[in-house]
Structures are given as structure tokens and as C-alpha cells.
């Protein structure tokens, strides 16, 4: 997750990314990353549910263009 492990990110956008590393969503919830905490806190205040990353899809093959 810190960019120095064997996992890789194959693409990213402003608000998400695709990676072969599983469970990043739950790892971030437990992290002490300040930016994560700020985001989590704001989602909690806005919606009543604290949230960071969520897993939208899981795919086993695809085409990156």
C-alpha cells in the first residue's frame, strides 16, 4: 500500500484505483494516516457512516486502455 511492496496499481483516477492488493479498504480503516482520518471523519459527519475506500468490482481479467 505504500508503493514499496510487490503489489501493483494498474490504473488510477482522482477518486479510485485498480490494484491486485486485496482488502485495502479495511486496512485503511485501521490506519493512522492523517488524510484517511480526515476523509473518514468528514464522511461520518456528512452521512452518519464513516467511510474510506470501498471495493466496487473484483475482476479476474480485463483490458486496460
Amino acid at each position: 500500500m505504500n508503493g514499496q511492496e510487490n503489489y501493483k496499481i494498474i490504473s488510477c483516477t482522482t477518486d479510485g484505483f485498480i490494484s491486485d492488493e486485496p482488502n485495502i479498504d479495511s486496512k485503511l480503516i485501521d490506519s493512522t494516516n492523517v488524510f484517511s482520518l480526515l476523509y473518514y471523519n468528514m464522511r461520518l459527519k456528512l452521512t452518519g457512516v464513516g467511510a474510506l475506500l470501498e471495493t466496487k468490482y473484483v475482476e479476474s481479467e480485463g483490458v486496460i486502455s
Binding site: 508503493g3 483516477t13 492523517v34 475482476e59 486502455s65
Partner: protein, 312 residues
């Protein structure tokens, strides 16, 4: 900022006060959204698509009005020096910098945007560019060496008020159950966490030690509890420090959840919440769009909500 093009005219410069002295930094540091692929073609293996829920409205809710009177033009200095002078306050500011930077070669995904040409933005290990204060902070987090050539810093308007509230009410409230104060405690602890991490610069070890500390457990507990914003708003009207950006997003979300998921009204409020940040950036790049009425391409005009400070 209704007419950006007219600002860069002799009359526009003279009539805009000193806006022209720093607006270019914010225009330069606005690079639009990030969209990158590191692999092309067919990929096989298990991949996970992660997404920040409500990213655009959430980011917009964190904005605030700029405190124009407290703005500062920045001189040449190294990144550490600049960071030390502002620390956590940099998060609560509109900051635009012209920098030279160099990431360690071990960083796989650098975060500083550099324009390659009119249509492309890349994220190299080294370069010279304009960036925002938040991009600067993340780069520092990744161990980047940064030299600030020049720039501008404008604090959020709420910063002074929040500092005053913190100093008046936080010191004796970390252990009581007064829900009115929880928001301030959360913010205060995040600030403490931030300062501790950045002062040590060995993030991994600091994160481990923080996770064992009393403050961290309190913070996590506070974050997991029911939000208390309604009580803050109603009970302490004069102490409310939330910006109008937050209030607008909050209202749109409250309206949206009144309707079933997937219904027209639910999607309309979702669209309104997401569109806000886009309206703040509309026309900044002078991009041309196809106009169905005239059957031709035209430059996208800016509008009342456009501001390179908010958009970046």
C-alpha cells in the same frame, strides 16, 4: 469569477486589485482530474477496483472561504522550512506553489503533476511545476525533496475561529462526554496526530507508536460514534465553524436520502452534489466543447461559481 479571460487584460488587471499577483499560481496548480494507466492491454489475475465514496462532494465539504486579508506571498525556501512554518494549518488553506522536486527512486507512484504538453499531465520522480499545498503535503509524506521557488498561501477563514475554539474549549474536554465538543476534539486530535507524524518523519514507526497511544484509541472511538453535528449546529449557533460548502453538501445529502436509492430525485440530488466541484473548474482550461445548438465547437465559458482556488 465570471470572466477569466477579461482578467488578463490591462483593464482587468488594474480593476482586480492585487488578484492578478497570485491568481496565476492557482491557475497553474490546477491540473484537472488524474487518470492514468500503468499497464496497457489484456491483464489477467485478480484485481480490485477501489473507489472513494462521494469523493467530490466530500472534498467540497472540506473547503472554506479564503481569508484574503491573511494571504502571504512566499519567497524561495526549502520544503522542510515551509512545512515547519505552517504544519497542520497547511491543510486548511489555499496554497499554490511553484516548486522543484525530487522523489526517492523507491517511490512507485509519485503524486506531483507536471504538464507534458497541452493535453497531457504526467507524474514523474523529478521536475519543476506548479502544485497545490495538499499535493505538497502528500509529496513530503512520500519523502520528496522539495524546493519552493515562489507561491502564495491563503488560510481558510475558519482557521482563526477554530484555533480560538480549540484553545478555549478543548483542553478540559477530552475525557468528558459532552457531545457538543466531540467534533472539536476529533479535529484537535487529528491535528496532533498530523504534527507528531510530520515532526518525526519516520512515518511507519510513528504510526505504530501512535496506534498504541491513548489519544489514538480515543480518536478511533470518537470517529466510530454517531456524529454529533446536528447538536453542534443547534446548540452552539455562534460557535459553528462549518463552512457554507459543508452546509450545502450536508443539505444535498440529507435531501437525497429522503428518496429511494435509484429513484429520479435520489439521482438528481446525487448529481447536484457531484456537479458542484465541476462548476468551480468550468472553463479554467479554455477547453472547447461541441455545441448542439450551433452544430459547432465552442470554448466552454466560465461561470459564477468558477474559482481556481476551490477547483484545485
Amino acid at each position: 469569477m465570471k470572466d477569466l479571460a477579461r482578467l488578463n487584460t490591462p483593464v482587468g488587471i488594474e480593476l482586480s486589485g492585487d488578484l492578478h499577483e497570485y491568481i496565476d499560481y492557482f491557475l497553474g496548480s490546477y491540473h484537472g482530474g488524474r487518470n492514468e494507466s500503468y499497464i496497457y492491454g489484456v491483464v489477467k489475475g485478480k484485481f480490485y477496483d477501489y473507489d472513494l465514496p462521494g469523493a467530490y462532494p466530500t472534498a467540497m465539504a472540506m473547503l472554506d472561504y479564503p481569508d484574503w486579508d491573511s494571504r502571504e506571498m512566499l519567497r524561495e525556501q526549502n520544503g522542510d522550512e515551509f512545512f515547519s512554518s505552517l504544519n497542520y494549518d497547511l491543510i486548511k488553506s489555499y496554497t499554490a506553489l511553484k516548486i522543484k522536486f525530487e522523489f526517492p527512486s523507491t517511490v512507485k507512484y509519485p503524486n506531483i503533476p507536471v504538464r507534458l504538453d497541452f493535453n497531457s499531465v504526467v507524474f514523474p520522480l523529478t521536475g519543476e511545476t506548479f502544485c497545490t499545498g495538499h499535493e505538497f503535503l502528500l509529496a513530503m509524506r512520500l519523502g520528496c525533496r522539495i524546493k519552493i521557488l515562489s507561491g502564495v498561501y491563503i488560510p481558510f477563514k475558519s482557521l482563526k475561529l477554530k484555533s480560538k475554539l480549540n484553545s478555549n474549549s478543548i483542553s478540559d474536554s477530552t475525557s468528558d462526554s459532552n457531545s457538543k465538543r466531540k467534533f472539536f476534539v476529533q479535529d484537535h486530535l487529528i491535528k496532533q496526530l498530523f504534527e507528531l507524524k510530520y515532526s518525526n518523519k519516520t512515518f511507519d514507526s510513528v504510526e505504530k507508536s501512535i496506534s498504541k497511544s491513548e489519544n489514538y484509541h480515543f480518536l478511533k472511538q470518537a470517529l466510530q460514534q454517531t456524529p454529533v453535528q446536528e447538536e453542534i449546529d443547534t446548540e452552539t449557533e455562534t460557535e459553528t465553524v462549518e463552512s457554507n460548502f459543508y452546509l450545502v453538501v450536508k443539505e444535498l445529502i440529507q435531501e437525497r436520502v429522503k428518496y429511494p436509492k435509484g429513484s429520479y430525485m435520489n439521482l438528481l440530488y446525487k448529481f447536484l452534489a457531484n456537479a458542484g466541484i465541476g462548476q468551480m473548474a468550468r472553463g479554467l482550461n479554455q477547453k472547447v466543447k461541441f455545441d448542439v445548438r450551433s452544430n459547432s465547437t465552442k470554448p466552454l465559458p466560465s461561470g459564477e461559481l468558477v474559482s481556481p482556488l476551490y477547483a484545485g
